[in-house]
């Protein structure tokens, strides 16, 4: 059984149908990709899957449990973490604090009002390890708002990773990055693949084709194709879109 499944998901904004009868399934231990042109409904799809919007119809299942319409925090607590296309950090916090606050160990103590949450101890070591993993070792005490763009992208993933998620959603992680930084990120995600089940939205197909085990293509709010990268290279739409060139 798939780790995560969406069945017949439907979402409308006013009169505009954004998602129509979407079926998706993501396997455990794999990196799944979602691609499609801008405005195709990829991000809305993510938002529905991670709880920001309730779908009008359809069901979302995680590990067999129906999580349709649960709040984002409830979904996050079940082990689904996500990053954002537009960087969304706690800008006044240091990089370390950004990760610290996202650790499940800290979350469990969220209503503890007495014990300090300090920058040392086991939690901090854990957080520092996450930062090291996304290439931010030595940047722990930098204010997130003061980090360079590429570093903020990495921290964006770091915050999601901190939750030790059973499923990690990455929303356009290469957005705004140059060729070199994209390559570095690609390496990092390849590393993460060993330990996490990942879903990535991208319009950079090259990036996705190099990493993904399976890809779904969304267009006009519908899944128009799915398969392995190799299979999709043969797909007409992908070829026409001129993005699938290796």
């Amino acid at each position: 059984m798939a780790l995560f499944e969406a069945r017949g998901v439907h979402k409308r904004f006013g009169h505009q149908v954004v998602l129509e009868n979407i079926d998706l399934s993501f396997e455990s231990g794999r990196l799944s990709g979602i691609m499609g042109p801008n405005g195709a409904g990829k991000t809305t799809c993510f938002n529905v899957l991670t709880g920001r919007y309730k779908p009008d119809r359809g069901r979302v299942l995680f590990d067999g449990e129906d999580i349709t319409g649960l709040s984002p925090n409830a979904i996050a607590c079940r082990g689904i973490a996500r990053s954002f296309q537009t960087i969304s950090l706690f800008d006044e916090y240091s990089a370390l604090e950004n990760v610290l606050i996202a650790l499940p160990e800290v979350r469990e103590r969220g209503f503890n009002m007495i014990e300090p949450l300090s920058g040392d101890g086991a939690d901090a070591d854990r957080a520092a390890a996450v930062l090291a993993r996304v290439g931010l070792a030595g940047r722990e005490r930098r204010r997130a708002g003061d980090l360079a763009y590429g570093e903020r992208r990495a921290l964006e993933i770091g915050v999601a990773l901190a939750a030790a998620p059973r499923l990690l959603f990455l929303d356009e992680p290469t957005s705004g990055l140059g060729v070199e930084a994209t390559a570095r990120l690609s390496e990092m995600v390849r590393e993460l693949k060993h330990d996490y089940s990942i879903v990535v939205i991208e319009h950079d197909m090259q990036f996705l084709f190099g990493l993904a085990d399976a890809i779904s293509v969304i267009h006009w709010g519908q899944v128009i194709a799915r398969g392995t990268p190799d299979e999709l290279r043969e797909n007409k739409w992908v070829q026409r879109s001129n993005l699938g060139r290796p």
Partner: protein, 342 residues
């Protein structure tokens, strides 16, 4: 891996110890600088109120323009308890805090999914409702004449009983409460709870996606802050030996916002403490000199917002920051957003 620098968070940081120590000697020199003991009592009470308020405004980013309501609820609850039940200092104060907590919890249910302007407006609306009720329900509250003849019950410590009738005695008691509240809040803002609040202020949506129930946190901090306001209110009713509806007015609620911000509540734990002291002293000193003191105060306030919007604490931090080494130790620990290097 580089060692993560430690930010020690002692129970009583040095700045706090110094402040409390200086305040403890106040009765000895207050008259010689041309002030008077009662002013010290009010300032200490409003510091408690301000610290609790800044939990909401500075730390959680929730601008409440109706917080006077809870201060007033505390004052009335204390007074009514003494009148209807029996005279008891600590029970009365506890009841005041609980009453304000309950009021805050109820109001919080309407507010906690609001942000920014809608949050501010709803607090104004609720604040007005409380004020209105206090005026209208005069059989209980005494209306605009206030609830009068509220006693200052003695502090019962086992066998000993310390009367609080003199302003000096009351001052020391208030100072003790201030110390307790300051220590508790200092712990709180460095605890996971406090850190989550600050995270919510910075980025509510991300906090939600990291797995925090933002509504519940906002609700809890609102009720908690209301409880502290109620506690301060109970002390105020003792200081004035009356409870008046005008502490619940929009104007009074606006003043606590102003004090907190002018002191630098956005950037420092101590912002409200500084702001309260500055406001009260300015009012007392300028007010005796000129009838148009509000004009001068307003002008200074406008200039402060234009040129030093981070308030006095912000200006201080900037100054300290410009002097190498001198204040390095301090600043990380005192600002709401801590362990930062620039």
């Amino acid at each position: 891996m580089a060692a993560v620098p430690t930010v020690a968070s002692p129970w009583v940081p040095r700045g706090m110890a110094l402040l409390l120590a200086v305040m403890a000697t106040l009765p000895l020199w207050v008259a010689s600088i041309g002030l008077y003991q009662y002013l010290g009592v009010e300032i200490a009470i409003w510091m408690i109120y301000g610290l609790g308020f800044n939990l909401l405004l500075g730390y959680s980013g929730l601008p409440s323009f109706g917080h006077g309501a809870f201060f007033g609820v505390g004052a009335y609850a204390f007074g009514l308890f003494q009148a209807w039940a029996f005279e008891s200092l600590l029970l009365g104060m506890a009841l005041a805090a609980v009453a304000a907590f309950v009021a805050g919890a109820v109001v919080g249910c309407f507010l906690s999914h609001r942000r920014g302007i809608y949050f501010a407006l709803m607090t104004i609306a609720f604040g007005q409702v409380f004020w209105f009720v206090a005026i209208k329900w005069h059989t209980v509250t005494g209306g605009e004449d206030g609830l009068l003849n509220i006693p200052r019950p003695a502090l019962e410590l086992g066998a000993a009983s310390v009367p609080l009738n003199s302003n000096v005695a009351l001052f020391y008691f208030v100072l003790f409460v201030l110390a307790v509240v300051a220590v508790a809040l200092w712990r709180l803002v460095h605890s996971p709870f406090g850190k989550v609040l600050q995270a919510i202020r910075q980025n509510e949506e991300r906090a939600r996606f990291v797995g925090y129930n933002v509504w519940l946190f906002k609700w809890a901090v609102f009720a908690l802050s209301a409880a502290i306001a109620g506690l301060a209110g109970s002390l105020f009713s003792m200081a004035q030996q009356s409870a008046y509806p005008d502490v619940m007015s929009l104007h009074a609620s606006g003043v606590i916002v102003m004090m907190t911000l002018i002191g630098g509540g956005f950037v420092s734990f101590w912002g409200p403490v500084i702001g309260v002291a500055v406001y009260f002293l300015a009012r007392d000193v300028l007010g005796a000199v000129t009838e148009t003191w509000l004009l001068w105060f307003g002008l200074v306030f406008v200039l402060a917002v234009l040129f030093r919007p981070e308030g006095i604490a912000g200006a201080w931090q900037e100054y300290v920051g410009s002097v190498p080494s001198a204040g390095r130790r301090n600043r990380g620990t005192e600002a709401p957003a801590s362990h930062i290097e620039r």
